[in-house]
């Protein structure tokens, strides 16, 4: 440490700080590529399913008549669809307030090997004002689809 000429102290400090910060930035970039959870709609899962252990988010409509509660009373199963494909979802827990059939949902979790989506968390509309971003766009998208179909 005494080997450093005091003259250069400012440069040395600057260099150390820069190396640490650039290291942090590179590390962050690398981790983001691996850890960011991507958003899928059912047709994307059907076309190109994510790796089984990867955390992803699945958004779509809870299909009418698909919601079932299992015997334990706390596990639910339902299908999420986007008009083109459907994905079975299982969730254990207390569902958010505005979660219901025919309504939009974003499920966070992983795709199991058998093609069932195991959700750790469900996001539904909080209320009329606060809607998860994906859901907001999805209902517009779906509205457009409905318009296109009826025309």
């Amino acid at each position: 440490m005494s080997a450093i000429k005091p003259k250069h102290q400012r440069l040395v400090l600057l260099a150390i700080a820069l190396v640490a910060l650039i290291g942090a930035a590179l590390l962050a970039a690398w981790a983001l590529r691996n850890q960011a959870s991507y958003f899928y709609v059912p047709s994307e899962i059907a076309a190109d399913p994510p790796a089984p252990d990867r955390a992803v988010r699945l958004g779509g409509m809870v299909e009418q008549g698909s919601l079932q509660t299992e015997a334990d009373g706390v596990t639910i199963a339902f299908f999420v669809g986007d008009g083109e494909a459907r994905v079975p979802v299982r969730f254990q827990g207390i569902v958010p307030s505005l979660f219901k059939e025919g309504s939009g949902v974003v499920a966070e979790g992983k795709l199991a090997a058998d093609g069932t989506f195991i959700a750790d968390n469900l996001l539904a509309k909080h209320d009329e004002k606060y809607v998860p971003r994906e859901l907001r766009e999805m209902s517009e998208h779906q509205a457009q689809q409905v318009v296109a179909e009826t025309q």
Partner: protein, 648 residues
Amino acid sequence: MMAEFGLAALWLAAALAGLQLIAGSLALTSRGQGLAGMVRPVAVVQGALALVAFVVLVVLFCQTDLSVKLVAMNSHSAKPLIYKLAGAWGNHEGSMLLWVTVMGLAGGFVALVEKRLPEPTMLATLAGQAFVSLGFYAFLLVSSNPFERLDPPAAEGQGLNPLLQDMGLAFHPPTLYLGYVGLSVAFSFAIGALITREVGPAFARAMRPWVMGAWIFLTIGITAGSYWAYYELGWGGWWFWDPVENASLMPWLAATALLHSASVLASRNALRAWTVMLGVVAFSMSMVGTFLVRSGILTSVHAFAVDPERGTFILALLAINIGGALTLFALRAATVTEGERFALVSREGALVFNNVMLSAILGIVLFGTLYPLVAEAMGAKVSVGPPYFNPMSAIFFVPMLIVLAVGPLLRWRRDSFARVRLGLLLPALLVVAVAIGLAIVANVGVLPFLGLALAAGLAVASLLPLRGRRLTRTPLAVWGMVVAHFGVAVALFGMASESAFSVEKLVAARVGDTTQAGPWQVKLERIDPVAGPNWTALEAKMTARYGQGAPVEVHPQSRFFWAPPQQTTESALVTRWNGQLYAVLGEEAGGGRWQLRLWWKPFVTFIWYGGLLIALGGLLALLGRTASDIRRFVARGKIAERRMEQGR
């Protein structure tokens, strides 16, 4: 009339901010020196007028004046008074008004009491503060007028988001804003010092109490916000790495780094350019946070403004302020002369390390928060959560904790590890002992494992600076440091314990059923309907017993608000010294069963006790330094008086 009066006060305050900027800038030139005398009074009046406008808005909300658009949109006559009050800042316009009010008051307060710096630096500082304020006044008056009328008046208000109808939340935004916006003072001091080239110990000493004050509020605000998310959302978590949480964490990290580097500058006259830079960065992070939260670019309960015009406006303000400050820094950094030198192993060296680590964590959080926005611009929808943030921040947090244990024991300028080795033996042994104990008895993850072991060592190491001191004679500032560092250990212990030892139970229970959650026996007695002022609810009556202890009543609710219509879960908590039982009532599960979610979270409360200790440490340091500043001021006055008498 009320609303127009408030609006007039706001316009006047904005005009005075303009005057403050012009007079302050001109007074720096040789011709405009006559204007110097007016800058401080103008700053004080400007702050007072902003306060008047804010008070008017609060009164309008208390009266539920439905001819004011903002009140009609966000309030309801059937709401309890406290939430009418909170409604005043629980929306975009009101919160921005609170922002400029705090900014005006902070500037006014600085103008009133700060006498240590050379006058030109003060003028430049106040002009800088006025410049930043002016942008936010313009934002408020042009695109977010809180006093806009509604014609005809609404018959009834639309109500406040029920999630926000909570005691803790009534005070959460003002506390956080005092912190966010208090940092604007550090920003302005940095600008002032750069303009007049007066970057030195005096600048650091003048800036430090303001940063400390803002930092204390920020710490309390983050701690309270975390507790709010914990019990109000009913998810059992205490930190979600939500962009909104990150928006408050980033200025805190920068301010923490700034406090430490300012102490090096104040006592050792080193780290000059770096401290100025952090002064700029800290408030920049506040503004970035505001942009993220308020522009509608993110969706959350905090994102009120979904108006793209507003987002663009804030972005422009952000670019002007941050870009301008960084340009000024780039132009002047070379003229900031190098400070005193120090060896790498020294108090300064440890503080530099702390600063670099804090900056790295800040970078990690900033990257993770912005990445989804960047990715979305390129067409991919991603979200970034705990799998990224937890390990990435730990990589830098763990070395920082180790240096945190050692640093306060080192001497300024030059020291050796050999001198402090003996003192650190006990904490080091403790870390090893806890690590071995944990490895034998429990199977916990890597991060909680590290957290528990380091927390034990740090708790002891943080007290070591008191060794060999007479406790009654120890300066308050040292006590502050010890308490804050001990608080870090306490919070870390709470986080690690919650993560390592929490027990979760999810059941569908019939009335009369008993569920075991960790050491607790929880019996569901009844489900009753209950009603509040603006909601009805289903309430579970449960009794919980800890081991063989006396039964405690637990009442989680599922609430239905009608204005606006929304359902919320009200969790119920039983707090013991060694943790919390957390109960949530879900839906009816069929067959007369009800969904119940129970958690036993050992020592979870230590997270927030730790946060409060950190804030208390800041408060002690602030009191200690302010007291000694006042003593010095008085003593100097007496000396001057005596000289005058002798002179006669």
